[in-house]
């Protein structure tokens, strides 16, 4: 009898999300386990550690109701796979990859290991096609390019979901009509939050080009560990097999990291910072690094992971490790939100590392880099002056400084702030930038080439 048919009832221990099965043989590391509880309920698990005659299994749907007498385990002889097909577009799946939209099951065109394999750096194509999101602070200052992984660092109660939905709605590569798809992966968010996206996709007709993987707040936590991997396996199939431009939205990575921590704690591992496992960097990298482009392939995977910074702390391990892996970050700020500015993007700590290669002549506009650098420098200076004014009052400022102060106020009002449904072209964004520059003395525009100043700076009367 092959191992696949044996029902082991030798569960010897259940602890937290883990279960130990003894007296087994020939079970592989990371092999999938089908578990049946004493009441006949089916669950799925995965081997976390394999010994000659015992394995440690993590149980995705939780261990509630498991016992050491009747619970049985069957090892299916392979690691976790996802059946993929183009028919997954427009469909909704749960945390273990089963459809939950009452439509017929998927007939897979291929079955793929959800852990994927690393893209060979030699095969990668460097991302450099500008994606216009219609949001000035992103397009103008932190440009997103196709194949980039650009997370949104947010805080609880901030409108990160609205922002992500707006990006999904407006994102386009100028001058190109191509097949594109959205893969939406929800980890532990509420039904309400998920619904915001679903409604939006529905309204814009994007639903049929969207594949959703949902694990909501009341779904089993440990499933969150495999969910993004399934979503990305699906995305890789769309992008590199079917040649689609795929936008992957992952939310909320904070819940993912919590699940990771739960497993680590149950295994009594030596905890790293704030109790998160020491290997969290590597683990997150195996998710984020699945974004990109490949030489000779038409499709691409662009990732927008979202996370809520616990206590708005950007040095917390979740945003911190994410920032070390992703190609920049968009940071939302409570202060701006309270001022009523949408999107409340705190420009200074934001970054897009791939921007330099995606902008300029023939891509966006020749003056883009200069405008961006100058806006940053001037806004940073204005923000410093605000702190100063708080202490010494505006009268103590020189004429020059007052102009910078005014600049920073106007910058937030005109450049940062825009309507949730306003889709600004890159030209419009740059134009606003130039209007703002006319507040400053011309001699202070040191970051921009003189020729562009002549060409673009509005001539005052």
């Amino acid at each position: 009898m092959s191992n696949k048919e044996i029902e082991y009832t030798t569960v010897s221990e259940v602890a937290g999300p883990l279960m130990i099965v003894k007296g087994i043989k020939d079970v592989a590391y990371n092999e999938v386990v089908r578990i049946k509880t004493s009441t006949g309920e089916e669950r799925t698990g995965q081997v976390l550690e394999a010994f000659m005659n015992k394995v440690i299994v993590q149980v995705f749907e939780g261990t509630k109701g498991l016992d050491t007498k009747k619970t049985s385990a069957r090892f299916i002889g392979e690691t976790m796979k996802l059946g993929v097909s183009k028919d997954m577009l427009g469909r909704v799946f749960d945390g273990t990859g089963n459809p939950i939209d009452n439509a017929p099951p998927i007939i897979p065109e291929d079955r793929r290991d959800i852990n994927g394999n690393p893209i060979n750096p030699y095969s990668r194509e460097y991302p450099r096609e500008f994606i216009q999101t219609g949001i000035s602070t992103i397009d103008g200052l932190n440009t997103l390019v196709r194949g980039q992984k650009l997370p949104i660092f947010s805080g609880s109660g901030l409108p990160h979901n609205n922002l992500a939905a707006q990006i999904a709605r407006q994102a386009k590569v100028l001058g190109q009509k191509e097949k594109f798809a959205v893969v939406f992966c929800a980890m532990g968010i509420t039904f309400e939050e998920a619904n915001l996206f679903i409604k939006d996709f529905e309204n814009t007709g994007a639903l049929e080009r969207t594949t959703m993987f949902l694990n909501l707040a009341d779904d089993p936590t440990i499933e969150r560990i495999i969910l993004p991997r399934m979503a990305l396996t699906c995305a890789e199939y769309f992008a590199f097999e079917l040649g689609m431009q795929v936008l992957v939205i992952l939310t909320d990575l904070t819940n993912y990291a919590e699940a990771l921590r739960e497993i680590a704690a149950a295994r009594e591992e030596v905890p790293g910072r704030r109790g998160y496992p020491g290997y969290m960097y590597t683990d997150l990298a195996t998710i984020y690094e699945r974004a990109g482009r490949i030489k000779g392939k038409k499709g691409s995977i662009t990732q927008i992971p979202m996370l809520t910074m616990p206590d708005d702390d950007i040095t917390h391990p979740i945003p911190d490790l994410t920032g070390y892996i992703t190609e920049g970050q968009i940071v939302l700020e409570r202060g701006l939100h309270k001022k009523g500015i949408y999107p409340p993007i705190a420009v200074l700590p934001c970054l897009s590392r791939l921007m330099d290669r995606g902008i300029g002549k023939d891509k966006t506009r020749e003056d883009h880099a200069g405008v961006s650098n100058q806006l940053y420098a001037a806004y940073a200076e204005g923000c410093d002056l605000r702190d100063l004014v708080a202490i010494v009052g505006e009268d103590a400022l020189s004429d020059r400084d007052r102009k910078f102060l005014k600049f920073s106020e106007e910058f937030e009002k005109k450049f940062v702030s825009q309507d949730e449904h306003e889709d600004r072209s890159i030209e419009k964004t740059l134009e606003i930038g130039w209007e703002l520059f006319s507040i400053l003395p011309k001699s202070e525009l040191k970051k921009i080439d003189e020729n562009y100043i002549k060409k673009y700076l509005p001539k005052n009367e």
Partner: protein, 594 residues
Amino acid sequence: MIKESLKGKITRISGPVIEADGMRGAKMYDVVRVGDENLLGEIIRLNENIATIQVYEDTNGLKPGEKVISTDLPLSVELGPGLLTNIYDGIQRPLPTIYDQTGDFIERGVEADALDRNKKWKFVPTSKVGDKLKGCDVLGEVQETSIILHKIMVPPNIEGTLISIVNKGEYKIEDVIATISSRDREIKLSMLQKWPVRQARPVKEKYDPSLPLITGQRVVDTFFPVAKGGTAAIPGGFGTGKTVMLHQLAKWSDAQVVIYVGCGERGNEMTDVLREFPKLKDPKTGESLMKRTVLIANTSNMPVAARDASVYTGITLAEYYRDMGYDVALMADSTSRLAEAMREISGRLEEMPGEEGYPAYLASRLAEFYERAGRAKLLGSKNKEGSVSVMGAVSPPGGDFSEPVAQNTLRIVKVFWALDSDLADRRHFPSINWLKSYSLYLDEVSSWWKKDVGEHWLNLRNNAMALLQKESELQEIVKLVGPDALPAKERALLESARMIREDFLQQSAFHEVDTYCSEKKQYEMLRIMSKYSDLIQKAIENNVNIEDIISIKSRENIARMGTISNQEFEKKFKDIENELEQEIEGIINEVNKT
């Protein structure tokens, strides 16, 4: 090499770490083949019959009971012509070969020679029969790329009389090219050598570095210089510019050979180097930068166990080129990932954790690595010199430098480039904090600057530093009372400091011209800025209004000095300087008239 090899079987698998039974007789750090797919691993602990092994490839699907075979050899690299321009994974498999075998994604169990066995190289002998040769003496030469002459050397541990050597001609790397008689033994040599990565290649003696490694980065060369054969660390939070800086150093530093190790970082960054370097020209030789470069990539999604192998592989290649008499520079991005890999493996071994979970041997491992840098008198009869400079990024959690990796690194390296998130946020790049950073090579390199570039280098540099120091003190006061309250003299001083910060220390890596600044240009820029500082003080003494001084046209000219090309700067700087003098004179005269 037909030898009955030791064979055990897997008893436990936990991520990248496995245990195998039946391994008595295997040696610590020997390489083993694991499982039916022959995954590569290395023994990291022995206990009776049980060997603990770190596996350099993904262990998914591996089963207890599968075989483990010892190769009886330590982890080694292949050395010989064909290294340059190549890109390897952490255990020296060429990524292009892996691509040919498994396509766009890296699969497991790939076997690939580091060096092409079939390629023929034009070998020109330089030794003759009868020569008494020592380790690292040169047998002959191969033009490996148009800029690097590859010296085919006697391996370090061999010494004897040359009894045969082939004629000038084309040979494959495994062809026998020479025979040496050494204590009645005849040793056949080819162009291919192997060397265990965890063992430093020997030298006769190490010297203190004395020449600067010119990097074309103003804040480095002028303010915090690194020496040829020196060590430097560049710690900083995410997005502060470590990678850009290391890329800049790999591009523009005047080393002859560059080894770039991407250790646990992004795949796209390696792709970036691969596509950019071949197009860029070395400012000194005018040749493509790729021709002097070897890349090693163990990106963050590649197996963790190969992190430290990648760094050791890199440093061994660096030592090999050093032994030919070259100045080699190695960049490692990021050493923190190496430390984290050690922590992960140590955790799986259930070792007693030290600070923040890192193993207690973290400090000694880091020291071992950086100690392999240096300027040295080489083995061989000629007493040649060569150097390995090492520059490592450190990625401290939360950007807080008090953590163990940063702290242990700072205890070893001589140059500290402290990156600062505040500066990065306001796009002051490179975001090296001038008050926190230091270089212990300043004295060593200053005589070179004095002799080769300009008499007053050290003075200019120290005055500029003092100015910046003073600025930070004044800024404390400004925060309390506002700038208006300061006397004009001090406001002028703030202006001069601002100029140094914005127009000298800042340097855009992405500007066609500004990306590289020759040492002469650096010197001249600083000299003119220092003159500006003196002249505006003079203007203040002549009662010129500070606002009039700040708004002079020359201020803008000076700000654009960095973007004036290396060819025309001497002439244009003269003009800028003249205009500055005239303008200041002009405003002083204006005041005196009234």
